[in-house]
C-alpha cells in the first residue's frame, strides 16, 4: 500500500465528524419506532421475549437462511459466539448496525454498511441448533451431549430424496426474515462473519413471499400455500403443535423444532399441465383456493365427499389429503415457507444433438415449526414422499433440522439454558 491509499489519520477524523453527524440522524440511531408501523420498511419486531421471534411472527416478505458448522473444540467459544450473536441480533432488529459504527474509525469495518439508511423492515432473527452441536461423529465436543432433546432426531432418508450433502445439515441455523431482502441478508451475513474462527458457513439460501395484504400468498405453482396452517393467534394450538414439549429437555421450554427443506420445482413441466390436473394434484381449486368440491378457500376440507361415480372428490394421492391432519393422527405443524429463485441450471441432453437444456433453479424453501418432528414432519413427509402426486414436479435437494431454543431475556443470550451449569 502506498501512502496515498491510506490517507493520514487526521483526515479520517475530520471526515468522521461530518459522517457521524449525518449518521446520527439517519443510520446509527435512526428513530425507527417513531415511524408508522404501516410502513413495512420501518416496522420493528421485538427480539427479546419468551419465544424467539420469527416463529409465530406474521410472515415477512423475505428470508435468508444461513447454516454454519462449528469448527472450534472449545465450549467457551460457542458461548461467546452465542452472546455476540444475541447482542448483534437485538441491535439489528432495532434497525441498528450489527456493532456500533464509530465514524472516526477507518481501520475496521464492524458492519458491511449495505443497509445504512434502510429501516429495520420488521427484521426477526431466529437461531437453531442442529444435531452436530451436541455430538459430532459420536464426540461430545462441548459437554452437552446429554442435553440433546430426544425430539431432535436425525431426519431419515425419505423416498425420492436427492439431497446435496454440502447443502444439508449443519450445526447452527440463523433464519433472518424481513420485509426487505437486503435487510434479511445483511443480518445473516454480519452474524456469519462474527463466527470466523469458531463457525463457518455451510450453506445459505434466500427466499421471498409475495402476497396481497390479508390474502394467503401463492407459491410458484400458483396455488395458495398455508391456508390450513394452525392459527398463530390460537395459544392453545400453538402450545399443542408448535412449542416444544420440554419433558426430556427443560432448556427447550418455549422453543420449537424447525425443519427446513429446499424443494426444487420443475416449473417448466408444471406449466405444461392442464389446470384441472394441477387441481387434482393439490386437491384444491387453483383460483379460489377452495378444497375440491367447496366454494371458498377456508371451507373445511371434506375428505369423505364423493363424486357421482362414488370416487373421492379430493383424490387419494392429492397433497391436501395426504398432508391433512385427519390423515395424520391429528398432527399439525406451522408452515412458514418461502419461494426461492436462484436463476437457472443447465445441463446437456444425453442424446444427440446433445443440446444444452436450461431449467429454473426455483422452488420452495419449506420451513415448518413443530413441537415434535417425530409426530409431525417425519410421519407426514414419509407419506408424502411415497404417494404425493406432486412428487413428479418436486425434488428435495436440501434439508436441515434444528432445535430453536426459547427467546432470550435482555442481558442473557440465546441458548443460555442449554449451557447453564
Amino acid at each position: 500500500m502506498t501512502h496515498d491509499q491510506y490517507p493520514p489519520r487526521r483526515r479520517f477524523l475530520k471526515a468522521g465528524v461530518a459522517a457521524g453527524a449525518a449518521m446520527g440522524a439517519s443510520a446509527v440511531a435512526r428513530p425507527a419506532l417513531a415511524r408508522t408501523a404501516a410502513d413495512p420498511q420501518h416496522a420493528v419486531e421485538p427480539f427479546f421475549g419468551d419465544h424467539q421471534a420469527g416463529i409465530v411472527t406474521p410472515q415477512q416478505a423475505h428470508t435468508y437462511v444461513a447454516v454454519l458448522d462449528l469448527v472450534t473444540g472449545k465450549r467457551d467459544d460457542v458461548i461467546a459466539l452465542l452472546r455476540e450473536w444475541t447482542d448483534a441480533a437485538a441491535r439489528m432488529t432495532r434497525g441498528e448496525t450489527a456493532k456500533p459504527l464509530p465514524a472516526d474509525d477507518k481501520l475496521s469495518a464492524p458492519d458491511s454498511g449495505d443497509v445504512l439508511g434502510l429501516g429495520a423492515a420488521g427484521l426477526t432473527i431466529t437461531f437453531g441448533f442442529g444435531p452436530g452441536l451436541f455430538t459430532r461423529d459420536g464426540h461430545d465436543r462441548y459437554g452437552i451431549a446429554d442435553r440433546r432433546p430426544s425430539a431432535l432426531v436425525d431426519l431419515p432418508r425419505f423416498n425420492g430424496d436427492q439431497l446435496i450433502a454440502q447443502k444439508a445439515g449443519g450445526d447452527l441455523m440463523i433464519q433472518a426474515c424481513a420485509n426487505d431482502p437486503q435487510v434479511a441478508f445483511h443480518a445473516a451475513r454480519q452474524l456469519a462473519r462474527m463466527g470466523y474462527g469458531a463457525a463457518q458457513m455451510r450453506w445459505g439460501q434466500a427466499g421471498f413471499l409475495s402476497g396481497a395484504r390479508g390474502e394467503t400468498p401463492r407459491n410458484l405453482m400458483g396455488f395458495k400455500d398455508g391456508t390450513n396452517n394452525p392459527p398463530t393467534a390460537d395459544a392453545a394450538k400453538m402450545r399443542e403443535f408448535v412449542w416444544a414439549a420440554a419433558a426430556d429437555a427443560p432448556w427447550m421450554q418455549g422453543g420449537t423444532y424447525t425443519v427446513v427443506r429446499r424443494i426444487r420445482i420443475t416449473l417448466e413441466h408444471w406449466d405444461n399441465m392442464e389446470r384441472g390436473f394441477q387441481e387434482q394434484v393439490f386437491g384444491r381449486e387453483k383460483y379460489s383456493g377452495a378444497p375440491l368440491g367447496k366454494k371458498k378457500e377456508f371451507d373445511p376440507v371434506d375428505l369423505d365427499s364423493l363424486d357421482h361415480d362414488g370416487n373421492p372428490l379430493i383424490p387419494e394421492n392429492s397433497h391436501v389429503r395426504l398432508s391433512n391432519q385427519a390423515s395424520n393422527k391429528g398432527a399439525q405443524m406451522l408452515r412458514r415457507s418461502y419461494s426461492y429463485n436462484d436463476g437457472t441450471n443447465f445441463y446437456v441432453e444425453r442424446w444427440p444433438p446433445w443440446r444444452q437444456e436450461t431449467e429454473y433453479d426455483a422452488g420452495l424453501i419449506f420451513i415448518a415449526h413443530q413441537s415434535d418432528p417425530r409426530s409431525a414432519f417425519i410421519p407426514i413427509n414419509e407419506k408424502l414422499a411415497k404417494f404425493d402426486l406432486m412428487n413428479q414436479f418436486t425434488t428435495h435437494v436440501g434439508s436441515g433440522i434444528f432445535a430453536c431454543p426459547p427467546g432470550a431475556r435482555q442481558g442473557s443470550f440465546i441458548g443460555a439454558g442449554l449451557f447453564r451449569t
Copy 2:
C-alpha cells in the same frame, strides 16, 4: 387418468362462475389504475411508447432477466413470437394475466397464476436482440443479417473474465422489472413459456435493489451505486448517451444498447477489509457517498485534488477515477444494476484437511444502457478490467449484449421495424 381426477364439465362451469365473479374484481381485470400510485404494489407503467419501458423508468425493486436462444429456422416463427410477446407484455404490465384466463376452462393453463391478486407492481418488460438473432455461425437464419447494427458488436474478452459460456450470450433478452419479485419472475416465465418450440431458455437471473426513498441505493459492498448516472430527466443527455444513434440501423431509432454482466463479489473477503481501504477502492466515502476529499454524495468528483504529500486524493486505480467520464473521453452510460443473491457455492480446499469451504454466490447484475457500446461500456470496462482495485473482489462470470429496439405502438409489436419488408 381416472374419471374422478377430471370432474365432469358441468361442475367446472358452476365453479367457474363463482371463480370468475371473484376474479373479475381481484385478478383478471382489477382496477389497478384506480389505486394510489403511491402503493408500489399497484403502480402501473405504460408499455407502449416511443421508447421501451424499463430503460429510463425509475428503477423498481426487483428484476428477472431471461435470455433465450432461437431454435427455429423460420422467420415467421420469430415474428409470431414477438407479436405474442408484445400482447402478453402489454397485458401483464396492466396487471392482467399473460393471456385471458377463462374460468370455465380447466383443460389449459394459459398463465401460471402465481400473481393472481397481486397488482401490476410497476412492471416493465424490456426486450433485447442479441447478435445471434442476426447471424448464427455465419448463417443468416431470418434474412436480417444486413440489418445488424454496427454498434451491436460481439463483446471482446476482457482481462480477468471468467465467463461461464452457458450463462452468457443469447439471442433474445427479456428484462422484467417490478416492485415485487414474484411479479417480475412471473412475467419472464410466461414469456419464456410462449417460446416453446421456437426459443428456449439459455439463462435466467433474479436481482433486487434496496434503497430508502429518494436515496441512492447501496450495493452489497455497502457503497452507494449510481450516484454519477446521467439524470434520466435530462432529455439531451439521454439522447447523447442512452438512445441509439440510428445512423446505420434506422430501425433502432429510439432504442438502446444494453450490456448485462453477472459480477460475483467475494463478500467474505471484502468484509475483512478496513473501511479506509474500501474507500480507496471506490474513491468515495462509504457512509456519505461523497467523493474522497468532498463532503456530500453529489459533490463533483475532483480527480485533480491532491493530499499533503502531493498524491491524488482519489487513487489512480480507484473505481470512481477509472470509470469517470473525464477518464473516458466524456463517455457515459446509464447504469441500472441490481444485486443478486443465489445462496452459496461450495468447494473443497485443495490441501489437507480438504475441508469444505462455502462462499456466497452473490454480487451485482450490472446492467448498462448506452447509445453505442463501442464508445461506452467496451473502452470503460477494458480499462477497469486491467486496473480497477476492485477486481480483487469481483469476477465477471456472465455476460450479454443486446440491441433493445424502440417501443411499440399499440397494434404493432416489438421489433416490427427490424422485420419490416
